[in-house]
Structure formats: C-alpha cells, structure tokens
C-alpha cells in the first residue's frame, strides 16, 4: 500500500484487508501519535486528515488510503516550531493525560481552517466527536479561543 503521510511517501507490504489506517500508521509506519481509545469512531482520538478531510483513522481501512494524502498530529508542527494550535493547548492547560490531545488538535486545526473566529457553540459542535476524560473541556475551549486569537493576530501582523 502506498500513500503520503505528513508529506513523506510511505509504502507498506502485506497489509491484511482488515487492518485499519490507524493500525498501519501506528504499528507499520512508526507514527503512534494518533491514538486508539475506542476503535469504533466514537472518541475521535485517532482523527487524521485524509486528503484534507478529518476522519477517524480507526474506521478507514488501510487500503482505502492508497495513493492518498494523510496528515497526522505528527505533521502539524513545522520543524521545531509548534503549530499555534499545539502551543495554545499547551499554554491553556488543555492537556492532562494527553491521550485525546492528538485527535483534538487535528479537529481544532480543521475547525480554524474552516472558521477562523468560531463562537463557543461552534467550538462545542465542532469538537463534539472528541472525548476527553480529564479536563472537563473548559481549558480545551480556552485553547481553541486562544489559538483563534493567535492566528488572527498573526494574520493582522502580516497584513
């Protein structure tokens, strides 16, 4: 199976038809950042981009990623610089155990791409598919608001 992950071409052999994209990423490509918390599309911990659309990697068969472009949490930071969404989660205290974090980062990244200034109800709606058991979500909301503000300021700075 061939695909692109985080900009790098990947090729893996002997993919069993029942293997998920999540398994392929974690166990075959050495990218365990996407997490395996429910493996039935309920918790969002394995959220990755597939051709620019966020999906639960546990519900995508590895074979379905053939010739497609995958971006995982490991692909959000550029070089040593955290993406503003990652920095905001860190700064806001939105990370406790951190198991839900990779999926939430991808989902938040996607939300801010679509809607740079989300209202609280919009944030809640966008992240309703990502379960977190530690934080009670308050600091996740803070993080998304912060990331939106940072992005807006960066944009204003450029203009």
């Amino acid at each position: 199976m061939k695909c692109t992950v985080n900009g790098q071409p990947q090729e893996i052999d002997d993919v069993w038809e029942g293997e998920s994209l999540l398994y392929a990423l974690r166990e075959r490509m050495g990218l365990p950042g996407s997490k395996n918390a429910c493996e039935q599309g309920e918790c969002g911990s394995c959220t990755v981009y597939l051709d620019g659309t966020p999906v639960c990697a546990c519900l995508v068969a590895a074979g379905q990623a053939q010739d497609r472009d995958v971006v995982t949490v490991e692909g959000l930071a550029s070089d040593d610089e955290l993406h503003p969404v990652q920095q905001a989660f860190l700064d806001a205290g939105a990370v406790q155990c951190g198991f839900c974090t990779p999926g939430l980062l991808v989902a938040t990244h996607d939300l801010l791409e679509r809607e740079p200034h989300p209202s609280d109800p919009e944030i809640r709606e966008a992240l309703a598919g990502n379960l977190c058991r530690c934080t009670g979500y308050e600091k996740i909301l803070d993080a998304v608001r912060q990331a939106a503000t940072t992005a807006a300021q960066a944009k204003a700075g450029l203009e």
Binding site: K35, C38, E74, V95, C97, F99, A128, R133, T135, G136
Partner: protein, 771 residues
Amino acid sequence: MSTPTRTDQNLGTDIAGGVGESPLRPDGTLKVKGEFAYSSDLWLTGMLWGATLRSPHPSARIRSIDITEAVRTDGVYAVLTHDDVPGDNLYGLEHADQPVLAGDVVRYQGEPVAIVAADHPETARRAVNKIVVSYEVQEPLVDPERAVFDDTAPALHAGGNVLRHLPIRKGDPDATADVVVYGEYEVGMQDQAFLGPESGLAVPADDGGIDLYIATQWLHVDQKQLCRVLGMPANKVRLSLSGVGGAFGAREDLSMQAHACLFALHTGRPVKMMYSREESFFGHVHRHPAKMRYEHGATRDGKLVYVKARIILDGGAYASSTPAVVANAATLGVGPYKVRNVSVDCYGVYTNNPPCGAMRGFGAVQAAFGYESQMDKLADELGMDPVEVRRRNALHEGATMPTGQVVDSAAPVEELLERVKAMPLPAEPDASDEDGYDLRLLPGGVSNTTHGEGVRRGIGYAIGIKNVCFSEGFDDYSTAQVTLKVNGGDAVATVYTAAAEVGQGLVTVQQQIARTELGVERVVIQPADTGVGSGGSTSASRQTYVTGGAVKAACEQVRTRVLRQAAKKLDLPANQLRLHAGKIVSADETVVAAVVDVLGDEAITETVTWRHRPTYPLDDNGQGNAHVQYAFAAHRAVVDVDVELGLVRVVQLDCAQDVGKAMNPDAVVGQIHGGSAQGLGLAVMEEIQVSGGTVRNPSFTDYLIPTILDMPPMRVDVLELADPNAPYGLRGVGEPPTISSTPAIVAAIRNATGLDLTRVPVQPHHITGTP
C-alpha cells in the same frame, strides 16, 4: 571579568515556576506533538502480541480447556492457562482472591481463562477463538442484598459473601426527632473510562528476570503481586512507568501485567498486550453500585438530631479495594454535617457482577448522593432553603465526626456553600421569543426535540467530604531521591520517585517543589520505576501530599548539605545561610557564593522515605482517628429539563473548593473541571448496565461519557485555608469535585421537575414516568 565582590551580587528574582505558580507541564510538548510514549505505543523488534480468552458466563464451573487448535495456528507462540502460572495463581490489592487465569471456576463475565501470544494481534485474537472451554453454567448471585442477608445464597468465596461490614455508632441509637425524612437511593455502576487502554510490554532479561513497561497507578503494588504470581524475587521483576492515558482508579488493580510477564518468561520474547475498548470494560474494576437507606431526624428548625443509614456496596466477584470503599462510605456516610447520634451499617459484598474497586472519590461519591438527597428532602419537609438547612448543620473545624475523630483543620462547609450560592446565575431561557432559541442550548440539542416548550429550569446545591491519603492505620509513605549537581554550568536538580504521573500533573508539582526548596531553575524528573523505593498509589488524592512531602523533605536535606558545605568553604555559620536563585545568601542578604561553585564536581544526593501523620484502625463501633485529612467541595448546578421527553441539559455547573494551598493554580482548576465532569456523567448518563451478571454496553457507543456539548461552562472558586499538618498546607484536590457534582445536578433536576429521583444516573424514563 573580575569584580571586587568576586561573585555576582545580583540577588536575582525568585526562580520562576515554583510552588504556587502555574508553570507548564514538562511532558506537554511531547504530548502535543504526538510523541509522548503511552504504554500502548511501545514497540520492539520481534515482539509478540498477547490476547485473552474471557469467560462469557458470570458464574460457571470449568470442566475442561482444550487449546489444541489454538496451539496449531500459524504464528502462535504460546497458549497459556492456569497450569502455566509458576507461582501463586492469586492476586489482589489487599485480599489475594483473584486468579490470574481461572482454574476450576469463573465468577464474573469477562474473567480471563486463557491467553495467546502470536506474531500479529489479529492472529492472537483468532487463536483465542479456537480455544474450547467446557463450562457448567451456574445461576449467578447478582443481588447484593441477597449476598448480605440470604444465608441460602451460594458462598462465592471461602469466607462468605460479606467482604466487610463496618458499623459506625455514635450517641443514642434510639434518638427520636420531631421531623423525620426517609429515603432509599441507588447508584449505578460507573466506569472510569480512561482513554488510554490497558497495555504494556514485558521484556525478558538476560538475568532470567522481566522488565515490564506499564501504565499503572502504583508500580510497587503491581511488583509485589507479580512477584507472588511469578514466584520471583523483586530484583527480577522490574517495572517502569510508561505514558499513562488517564487512570481514575481503574489502574489500581492488575489487568494484563501478569499475563504479559507469563508470556515473556514462556517465549523468551518481548510481548505486548493492549486491550480494545470492549475488553477494557472487562479488564478493570468499576465504581461500586450502591443501595442505600437513609433516615434523618431533625428539629423543626432544621438541626439534625440523628442519622441512620444502611449502605450496601456491590463489590462483584473479587475484593479489589472494596474494604477501603466500605470504610469511606461508612465514615463519611452522614456527610460534612454535625450529627450527635449516628448509626451507619455499611456492607461490601461479593456477587457474580463485574468486580468493583477504585474510582475517583470512592465510597464518598455513593454516600454523598444519599445524604445530600436527604438534606434536600429535609429542606423540603421544613419548607426551608436547601442551602440554609445545610448551613445550620455544617461541620466546622473542631467538630467531631461520627467516628469520634475531631476535624483539626479548616472545614469551610458554610463558606463553600455561600460562595457557590453567591455566584451569578446564567440568564433565564426566553421561550416566548420564537426566534430566540438556539437548538444547541436546549435539552436534546440539534436533535431538534424542543424549541423551548416543556422545558423547565432548576437549581440544585450539594457539598461533599472526602478523606485524603490512605486511612485506617495503613503504612502510607512515599520515597523521593533528589540530586543536586552542576550540569552545563548550571546547578540542576534531579528528582527520582516511583510515583505515577497519570495526567494530573504530579511531574509539574515535583519540579515546582524542587525549584522552591533548592532555588534552582532546572529540575529534571527522572522516569518513574521500581529502582527507587515505593511512591505509594496515585489515588486517594494523595500524591501531591505524600510524594510532594517526600520531594520537599529530600530537597531540604540536600539544601542542608549544600549550605553546610558552603559554610565550611566560606567559614561562615551554616545556620545563617540560605539558597536563593542559584546563590548562597548570608543573613545580611549578601550573596556570598554561587551554588555551582560550592558544588564543584560533587553531586549531592539524598533519599527520603516520608510518611504523613499516622492513622488508626476503627474499633467495633467504627470509632477511631482513621483519616489523615478531610477535603471539601461544593457545587451549584443549573439545569434545563424537557419534562416531556426527559432530556436534561446542564446549563451551568459552579464549584467552590478548599485546596489548602494551590500548588499549581491552573492544574488545580483543571482537576476541578475534570472531576466535576465525571460527576455530571454519573448524574445523567454514565452506567454500565448489568443484567443477570452480564454487561450490556461495553463500548463508547453504548456507555456514554460527557462530550464538550454536555459539559456546561464552570465558575470555579478556589479557597486556600492551610492545613498545618500538610506540606505547604495543601489539601488533596482530585476527588472532592467528583463527589458534590452529581447530587447538585440531581437536586437541580428535582427542582425543575418536582420528582423524587432516587437513582443515578437519572435516565429520561425516570423523568417522564414511562417504562
């Protein structure tokens, strides 16, 4: 550059990131980059994967186990049963009553019977399905009341079905009162639902021992049980903590640890085990379901005269931490109130239901739903404000608990209630404005089940009490090793403990303590493993208290040595020197040396085993100083209820909690948010549904935990009333917010609907009255 003073005289600012500040967590960057190594991420070349065959029956005799076909499967390296356990085939936290692999009997659905290791996880799972077990199915004992009172019920263990009965007797058992309220309450079985599944990697070592990389709450208690099971000494069973994806009590007991070690010994290869979510529901203990009867007697002006209670906690098939859960439910059974006459009987029993043990706030959570429901009932009976009736009975410092223990530090019960009551209320929904509704803000949400019609608002209050640290005479300690040495031109402290970071932020607090005590900025937290003494359990809200206390004490000893060394070098009295921002400062506030110069090439290391003040067992009447410290939190909940459909939306959930000292204010608030959310889950959605001993909803599709849409905004008010007995005056933080959150929400639903609601979680049919 040379100066006459020879050393830099700038005192500098205080080292940033010390106690009382909110520095970022040291593992945060790895976590946001997806590079933090959780136990499920571990990988070694040539490793095998383990899978588990579990009993489909809650009660059965095993006639035979045929592994022939499983062994013959290509890619399978080992198929093991109870015959392959080299040591004692029993484990348990305090009572070793649970088989590593079932022998002649299974006592709950999901009990491990056999295990398979193969070169691919799916191969292992398929081989598991080829094992043929012949069961003689038996009628399960599933009614916990029957387990207590019916002598004809089959005894599930040699000592009978009552694992612990704890009576608490205080004052006059025959006291009477003008006003009496009676209630029966039930708490369903809640799951901790941590997100990181049970997992670990066992690696056989050249010395014949095992190195186990594992997500757990207490490395040394795992090690102790594994030594017994494997028949090996502690120096051959070495555990290292892997990344832990949440715990909440569910990692106190062994899950796959022993199985992975058996495989590693048997195959000579590294073996990884990782549960799926479904298996996780069978792989750890849950919160004890409770059946409670309460009778409260009070004067007409709302002063409690007596409380009588009977609490039955269903421990399921094995003991786990049931005895301690019983102790909490009994000793905290009347809540944070002054009551002269108390009679509580609390039972923890064996049944063929799923085993229950530790979950955040254990024992206290169940009792709080009972006593707080009763306080509301009493307020109703008296026509009194629910906060007022609580105020009139509020515990305070110096008061005596039902166990005879005097509360000897702050107990701001009244103040916490007043604070949540004084917080501003959210705006009333305006149902009259046809265009004013936002579906997302209504019960049922975007299911579009109401535009405001049939929606009633309610407000509820609750307060809870929790013991912090281990109780009843348990030798509760933690070990910390602190080293100070020069590295890269800076003085760097290294903190080494075996205490488990599970997400709560202990690693951050350890750094903060070392910064404050040693005046150094750079603090390295060494990975936790069994190479150092026990850190005790990450439970009972105890780690910042006990491991924090150990780190503080070790730092103090290191500091004493550094100052002694400086005194010797500088020919100054040591007792007039102190450490400040990497400098040695004399009594007249002059910098006399830099720490790096005093240290030179030497590393100063101190190891301290630190204990909190002793506790004592309870006597036959439940009397004794059993607890170290009490902690309190209060909640106010505001809910909107669609009374026609029984749907609840929690609109606002506010909390006030006394934390003694906010060691890391941001992390403290994070604990309060998260704990409150778990209480919300128990109030309105979370229950493992068990029917005839069989779990009906072992998945995140059917077992619901709160999403970001379910969790309302929270206002949090943190009090810091120091406990003079505790390090820095701190009070354990993790559990109290889970305790009062549930009864406050249910009180609000009662307030909105006028219904009794005696069971949590409250389900739609409880509100609509439909079957």
